[in-house]
């Protein structure tokens, strides 16, 4: 993408077992600060499952822990915004 930031999805090595061939996919986010350092975030995204019949299915990998954490952060921010709005309304009346 650029020297500063790069986001890409990479496919891992396919593994076959029985009738299934599994190919994992991972997303990598790279942020570089030239001469100062950088940051890399790698996460699993999905798995491609291929059957011998040629059928393909993509199974997403859901990070339940992160979803729960973001849910609580969202709830906290919502409560903060609600309290702030209600306080402003009560001050005006």
């Amino acid at each position: 993408m650029s020297e500063f930031m790069n986001v890409e999805i990479q496919a891992g090595e396919s593994v076959s077992i029985g009738e299934h061939t599994v190919t994992p996919f991972a997303q990598s986010v790279q942020i570089r600060f030239p001469g100062m350092g950088g940051f890399i975030w790698n996460r699993p995204v999905s798995v491609l499952v291929q059957n011998k019949d040629g059928e393909e299915e993509v199974l997403p990998i859901i990070d339940v822990t992160r979803q729960a954490l973001f849910g609580f952060i969202g709830l906290g921010l919502f409560m903060f915004a609600l309290t702030w709005i209600l306080k402003r309304i009560s001050r005006k009346t």
Binding site: Q10, A11, G12, V15, I17, G18, E19, H20, V22, P24, F25, A26, S28, Q30, R32, F33, G35, M36, G37, G38, F39, I40, W41, N42, R43, P44, V47, V49, E57, L59, P60, I61, I62, D63, V64, T65, R66, A68, L69, F72, I73, L75, G76, M79, F80, T83, L86, K87, S90
Partner: protein, 143 residues
């Protein structure tokens, strides 16, 4: 790097320093090589008819800094007087990893089992709860 013939300042190589930019670039290249799919998916484990592939989220960051300086002797009137110099640098980094899910392939099919961290979720829950109770208490006091 720096060359000033009038003040007889030597460059980094003459003073015995390695090229800092090169060192940083090499370290950075090693660090960025961690951004691959092998870092996320573990070695597949096969047992009987079942194959298990563990997966994890990997977060890594690194920072570097360096500086060099030169100077002439204080109060010196001679411009050709020998000078001193110095340099230093440092860096640090960290890699964080957290299991996310396990891919299980068996004759029945392939499924993805998420790995839930109850400690993290409980901590986030109680923190949010405390925050919300505090907010409600503030609201009531405000009235």
């Amino acid at each position: 790097m720096t060359e000033d013939k009038d003040l007889n300042i030597k460059n980094d190589e003459e003073m015995g320093f390695d090229d800092p930019a090169k060192t940083i670039q090499e370290t950075m290249d090693t660090f960025l090589s961690a951004a691959n799919v092998e870092a996320v998916y573990g070695e597949p484990i096969e047992k009987d008819d079942t194959l298990i592939i563990p997966s994890a989220e990997v977060l890594s960051f690194a920072g570097f800094g360096l500086g060099t300086g030169y100077g002439i002797e204080a109060g010196s009137e001679e411009e050709d007087k020998s000078v001193g110099g110095g340099g230093g640098g440092g860096g640090g980094g960290r890699v964080l990893s957290r299991p996310v899910a396990v891919i299980i392939a068996s004759p029945d099919g392939v499924r993805v089992e998420p790995i839930v961290d109850p400690t993290k979720i409980a901590l986030a829950f109680f923190t949010t709860l405390g925050f919300m109770v505090g907010m409600i208490a503030r609201m009531k006091r405000g009235k």
